[in-house]
Symmetry: C2
Subunit: 395 residues, 2 copies
């Protein structure tokens, strides 16, 4: 059976991570994603480590399932080719600064005049509608301005960036949702529209209860290490040989937990009888739990608490994940064969559909691998014309 987005064509001007995450999700689900790159150079992330046979595994992991054509959008012929592709595409995606497409003469308004059905999705630091039009937006800036850095880290330590670029990845995922919603509208009404994702917005929208904690109570949410701000014990703890987490979300689990660790006296301890009390007296509770856990291995602790029905998890390092039996069963790490890099193990889609599953089918494209195919099959250019476009540096 066809994948869900079979027949959808996406012209992808995305680079590095935010928009490439979106178009990776679209390509995994079956869209034809045509990645448009600068002749001779390509996406910046082709130069990001780690490398295998000089090929970027970073690039490979995010650009699987896509096609690549080169096109110089600063040249008139490059613009013409791009506009001709817009006529026969469903979606245009980009993550430049807001004014870049305007300067190229390829703003949404221009493209809409060419193809009223086109969906134009952008991701940038502060949005196309913004009071900060010139400000660049890297992931770290979105994480900082969007508030997640201020609330991540130990209570007595500095504000801390999340260990992966979630500002980019959330923005890309929200762009995907916006595009899928806009495709529905387009198919029902024949009208395209603009999807405008600001990375700062994306981070603000995933602060969970931090915003209402401030707007309702006036208290500014602080860093609390790994502890949940209002549920206890719900934290990272140290074992003899590593780290683990528990999530004791209610009084029933608290009872199970105390029995499992042979500390039933805690059940009658007035400091800990309800969740609000455990939260309030957590500074006294944490050392009691650590005293128990420091004597045991992570494996022993998992056995005890899983058997007792207490939510528990090991703090997996990345090597553990790659070997995890559930990750294997769910085919979350797959090997792709890249023509230059050889076999590379990358992450597959977490969106598991039973009837029309998306999945990694092929490695990332070489720079301009599909230029001839696209120009010839979609736009009717002859081999000679393509050769001359190459000579002129247009493709």
């Amino acid at each position: 059976m066809d994948k869900p987005l079979k027949g959808i064509r996406v012209l992808d001007l995305g680079h590095v991570l935010a928009m490439p995450t979106c178009t990776m999700q679209l390509a995994d689900l079956g869209a034809e994603v045509i990645k448009i790159e600068r002749p001779g150079i390509g996406d910046d992330s082709r130069y990001f480590g780690p490398f295998k046979n000089k090929e970027s595994a970073y690039f490979i992991s995010i650009n699987r399932n896509k096609k690549s054509i080169t096109l110089d959008l600063k040249k008139d012929q490059g613009k013409k080719i791009f506009k001709d592709l817009v006529k026969i595409s469903d979606v245009v995606t980009e993550n430049y600064r807001p004014n870049t497409m305007q300067k190229l003469g390829l703003s949404y308004e221009t493209l809409k005049a060419i193809n009223p059905q086109i969906i134009y999705a952008s991701i940038c630091g502060f949005g196309h509608k913004t009071v900060y039009p010139g400000r660049p937006g890297y992931d770290v800036i979105a994480q900082a301005t969007g508030g997640i850095i201020a609330i991540t880290g130990q209570a007595d330590g500095p504000p801390t960036r999340v260990g992966s670029s979630i500002g980019d990845i959330f923005s890309g995922s929200f762009a995907t949702i916006g595009i899928l919603a806009a495709l529905r509208v387009k198919e029902k009404t024949g009208l395209g529209q603009q999807v405008d994702i600001a990375m700062m917005d994306a981070v603000v929208s995933v602060l969970e209860n931090a915003v209402v904690r401030y707007t309702v109570t006036g208290e500014i949410p602080q860093r609390t290490g790994s502890a949940h701000p209002s549920i206890a014990p719900f934290d990272v703890f140290e074992a003899q040989d590593g780290w683990f987490v528990i999530g004791v979300g209610n009084d029933m689990l608290w009872e199970r937990f105390c029995k499992a660790i042979n500390k039933t006296d805690l059940l009658n301890d007035s400091r800990f009888t309800t969740n609000p009390k455990r939260s309030e007296n957590y500074k006294e509770l944490k050392p009691i739990i650590t005293e128990w856990s420091k004597e045991k291995t992570v494996e022993e602790i998992l056995n005890i608490l899983i058997n007792a029905g207490v939510p528990v998890g090991e703090v997996n390092t990345i090597d553990k994940i790659v070997d995890d039996p559930n990750i294997k069963l769910r085919e979350m790490i797959v090997e792709v064969e890249h023509p230059l890099a050889g076999k590379v193990k990358i992450t597959d889609t977490p969106i598991k559909l039973s009837l029309t599953p998306g999945k990694v089918e092929k490695a990332s494209p070489l720079l301009g691998e599909h230029t001839e195919e696209i120009l010839n099959k979609l736009l009717g250019f002859s081999k000679e014309e393509i050769k001359s476009l190459k000579k002129e540096g247009v493709v």
Copy 2:
């Protein structure tokens, strides 16, 4: 113009955060989300702080735009009503443990027999297809087993949970993408399917380059505080009155940065002339930057570096975000009027569509607020019948 998901009916058995995030996104985009809650009790998160007039602002923020009916799925009549609703709905969503719906006699297979077009989306810790069928999965467990905790935190500090429940929120967002893709398939083929999201998968899929760093180099990614593992200076720094980040991603930006902070001598310092050297000698570079920044306010630093074209951002605390002019322009924080809590400021959708925008339209429902409406209008129950269902505790 109608919102993108107008006409789509979702029966939502979700609770707390992961699936409610998904159905919030669907409701924001115009789906009719019918939240099914336990009579007299409702979603656990109705009891999560902060509270305003005893109403949970946590619940309000995530369940805006939804309807609520109460239904006891353990009672035969409750099951019957649920199945009758499945016949006239497009999507069923739940985030119980894998065997819960089976035990209730409401597995996907059962529901599919009733309505072959139904899309059945689940989120749980390790997936419905899993080697860990009994293991519960809270956000903190997904963050731990999925690897983000191991790579978040200071280099010399403990592994650190991300400050909001991104394990839940990514899972919910991926469920939304899966449901939108499945809706496309359903509309083209008349066939429903299962969307099976594992929270651990979701976290593994957002580790960025950590997986390839391990699979390609064999090195286990470590915590690096806020510093970028291979670009410098790209970190959180302390100012006189707060914190800020800079992203000096290349040598041109390094030159701009040194000029802006009046330390042009650094440009000739052999420890710092290229990015690899700056990364290698970052321990010596960081104090030089901090020496400069500690004397200045965040506002002064932003003025200097924005004017110089250096990527920079303030580490916003939540109070700053609520007052940020760009957040205001983009209407990211909106006030809803709740019948009991009164006015509450919550986060609106970050998915900004130009033609058919999703948005917060109304506050979260009271427990069972729409029970009568749904039972009467959709299933034809009379007032008397509903009264008797209430008496029997079915609704």
